[in-house]
């Protein structure tokens, strides 16, 4: 059973993680604005604070000060539930993310599974948001999110299953531990276990982009087609919560990619492993996520589904079979 100390520790971690999540949501949005500006030869926010560093605070205040409108036909309980449903799983998923061997809120031997199951709630929340809004753009966005997330959940899970076959553990701490001691031990480069590891990392990353509804897969929001998709009718902090959840989900996705493929807190050349390496790798991936968004236009919807069903899923299946064969052949 849990002792009082454990519960206090868990609560403190939870507060810390909520703070961490909120801080990252704020500053990833700033990174997004700055980086997109740099890539387009602009300068991004510069007015609020030095180099615009206080900008997220201003954005937050703006969203907080706005009224939460309830349009006439919305289904009020569901409409209000959706933003909460989207943000809570995102925060809860952070609980099992190990920042280092000891720095983890709750080490759970099914951590990986838990993150995926909480991640699935995200789809429901967006579906509910779109449906409850009683708005045709929101409904289209909601329908798209289901089609898209189901399509991309499959290859993602297939890749992860193959990985779990290699690590034979769902425990994130254990998975990272197995990759300790330099970048040649990372799952990304464990070609002995499966020569398709780099490809499976790529599949995982693409699916992660699609699961978090990031451009070029942002069919849910698709502001040029659907106004704001599932979020059309939300204002003020209702919208703000979706916004925070989007960035926290990116954070979780990048953390997961770091843990599963890039050795978590392990140093690439075997020196000074620690949480700083975890953060460096994770933010490098976050940078890449933003980089991808501002490099490519949104795909068309059938292009999106084709990519999943015709390319990613077959490759993921081959990857799975190959891993199984290699496990039998290479003892």
């Amino acid at each position: 059973m849990y002792s009082l100390g454990d519960i206090v520790r868990l609560l403190l971690y939870l507060v810390g993680l909520i703070g961490f999540g909120a801080f990252n949501a704020a500053y990833l949005s700033l990174l997004e604005r700055k980086q997109s500006a740099w890539m387009q030869l602009r300068r991004g926010p510069t007015e609020v604070g030095p180099w615009g560093l206080i900008q997220p605070v201003a954005d937050g205040l703006k969203l907080l000060s706005k009224q939460i409108l309830l349009p006439r036909d919305v289904n009020v309980p569901l409409f209000l539930l959706a933003p909460i449903m989207v943000v809570v799983p995102a925060i809860v998923s952070l609980v099992t993310i190990p920042f280092s061997e000891t720095l983890v809120a709750h080490r759970y031997n099914l951590g990986l599974l838990m993150i995926f199951s909480f991640g699935a709630i995200n789809i429901f929340a967006l579906l509910i948001a779109g449906w409850a809004s009683a708005n045709k753009y929101a409904s289209i966005g909601a329908v798209r999110v289901v089609a898209q997330n189901i399509a991309y959940e499959v290859p993602m899970l297939l890749v992860v299953i193959a990985l779990v076959m290699v690590t034979s553990s769902f425990d994130l701490v254990e998975i990272v531990k197995q990759q300790g001691g330099g970048c040649w031990h990372w799952n990304l480069l464990k070609l002995g276990a499966n020569p398709m590891m780099p490809a499976s990392f790529l599949i995982f990353f693409i699916c992660m982009l699609a699961e978090t509804n990031r451009a070029p897969f942002d069919m849910v929001e698709a502001e040029s087609e659907l106004i704001a998709g599932a979020f059309t009718e939300y204002s003020g902090m209702g919208f703000g919560l979706f916004f925070i959840a989007e960035y926290v989900n990116i954070l979780i996705g990048c953390s997961l990619a770091t843990i599963l493929f890039l050795g978590g807190w392990d140093c690439p050349f075997g020196l000074f492993p620690g949480p700083h390496w975890f953060l460096i790798k994770m933010y490098a991936l976050c940078f890449t996520v933003v980089w991808v968004r501002w490099s490519f236009p949104r795909t068309q919807f059938y292009g999106l589904l084709n990519l999943s069903w015709k390319i990613l899923i077959p490759l993921a299946l081959v990857n799975l079979l190959l891993t199984a064969v290699m496990l039998k052949l290479v003892p």
């Binding site: 980086q35 500006a37 740099w38 890539m39 387009q40 030869l41 602009r42 300068r43 510069t46 980089w291 991808v292 501002w294 490099s295 490519f296 390319i311």
Partner: protein, 145 residues
């Protein structure tokens, strides 16, 4: 089957090229001008509202009324007087109704004494229409006394 893989490789290659371009772009020089803090100088042929030219701290205008007559919209109202000891008439008032001015330039062209020109002002805003219904050009040119 070969085509399938060719397509994937080609796709990945083009994606990589795209990402390289955006990455390199991050280190280009910025084209943004920090507008309220920095402004560009206006091009020579830019037409702001007309202003009176000044020579020896006095408007060059000799009150011949040609500009008032030339203006198709009747924007210009001016008046002058013959002062003791002055060789020519002096302006006592010169107002421009900028709300109807079409910036056609007929007034500038009609002035035989090179006393009018277009200004380079473009930061003009006001919450009151009156502010632009009678711009006192004489005052802007330094009073005229």
């Amino acid at each position: 089957m070969i085509n399938y893989f060719k397509e994937i490789i080609l796709g990945l290659r083009t994606l990589a090229i795209g990402m390289r371009i955006t990455f390199v772009r991050m280190f280009h020089h910025r084209v943004t001008l920090d507008y309220p803090h920095k402004t560009v100088t206006m091009t020579p042929r830019f037409r702001g509202h007309v202003i009176l030219k000044v020579a020896d701290a006095k408007p060059k205008c000799i009150v011949c009324m040609a500009c008032q007559r030339a203006c198709p919209s009747g924007c210009i109202k001016l008046d002058g007087e013959k002062r003791e000891g002055a060789a020519r008439k002096s302006l006592t008032s010169y107002t421009l109704n900028f709300t109807t001015c079409s910036l056609c330039g007929l007034c500038v062209e009609s002035c035989a004494f090179d006393a009018l020109e277009f200004s380079k002002k473009y930061n003009l805003t006001s919450m009151h229409k009156e502010d632009y219904q009678a711009i006192d050009l004489l005052q802007q040119a330094g009073g005229g006394k």
